[in-house]
Symmetry: C2
Subunit: 174 residues, 2 copies
DNA sequence: GCCTCAGTTCAATTTTTATTGAAACTTATG
DNA sequence: CATAAGTTTCAATAAAAATTGAACTGAGGC
């Protein structure tokens, strides 16, 4: 587990100093980076999202790269992640090739999506696995307490699978 | 973000082969490891928990180390983590120095604890931060849309802070 | 009071994950 | 069709996180 933030986390890494960002943009990025950390989303993705979130208008690839001092690769991957999770939308002006990005209206929906994509596949996989575990334990002569624990786990798993899809309609087309 | 499990994840790392674990114990460990991954809990911790979860009786330090083929350091830190999050309990027989461990009765409560400890401090910190962001944006002449987004974020943060403590009584003594 | 056992700490190391950047790919457009 | 803008890919590299193990601590027993 990541070391729980000891003292002043003295910036050891050579990060661009983002002179072009206003202080409130920097602070918002810090907020998103922290939240993203909990969800296992990389810093660069959170930074991009924060930038778009606080922007008065949609931004294009190069603006993002310049403002954050980030490599093309990171910007591309970050935008892909955000697109895939329906957290940003492209705003196309006709006659303009370049895509411009802004956050989707509902951050809430995006977050639910994000969590669902992490958790659902795991839950689905584990349904048969937990059954096998229970069978194995029974065969191996596990105590009644252990069998009870394992059954409870299996019931939970099943219930979570039922409940999850109700949180929000799945993304269309997926 | 961790590469999303490409092909057969051919075990590259030299992990102990745990010959002494029954197949259902191994499969349960895999389940817990996967779930732990989502919560950002290290593999070794999940393995220890799984071992205790499927054990017919409480296990001591050396038994855990032997069964999992893990270093003393990892076992010590893993047990500390599990203790700190109230996921295991020590069962003391008198006249015996060595501590023996078993899972706490409620995995649910433990998980809520775990999540709360990750999220609550972040939410608390961000309350003033988000206010500053909003003020800064206002000063910097942000558009009404941006100001609206930021206010919504702030309201959410506040609401989450209200709601969280209701999930379960906080651990006593903390 | 010393010795031993049980466990902890933490610097060094290994493993995993994120980021970079140059080359490759993909269209719109002259 | 050639060009070039816009973007993606991916091998190499950097950074972060987990694990190890040897030195250390401290509670009991003797």
């Amino acid at each position: 587990m990541k070391p729980p933030a000891k003292k002043p986390p003295v910036a050891r890494r050579r990060r661009p100093d983002n002179r072009s960002l206003a202080s409130h943009e920097i602070e918002l990025a810090e907020f998103f980076v922290q939240m993203a950390g909990i969800l296992g989303v990389p810093r660069s993705v959170a930074q991009i999202y924060a930038l778009l979130y606080a922007a008065n208008s949609a931004l294009d690839f190069d603006q993002i790269q310049a403002k954050l001092g980030m490599s093309k690769g990171s910007v591309s991957q970050g935008l892909k992640f955000l697109r895939d999770h329906e957290m940003i939308l492209s705003v196309k002006a006709k006659g303009v090739r370049r895509e411009r990005w802004e956050p989707t209206p509902s951050l809430a929906a995006s977050l639910v999506n994000l969590v669902r994509r992490q958790v659902l596949p795991a839950l689905q996989q584990s349904t048969p696995a937990l059954q096998r575990v229970l069978d194995g334990a029974q065969t191996a002569g596990a105590s009644p307490e252990v069998l009870e624990r394992l059954s409870r786990l299996k019931r939970w798993n099943a219930r979570a699978l039922e409940l999850f899809p109700l949180m929000l309609p799945p993304s269309r087309g997926g």
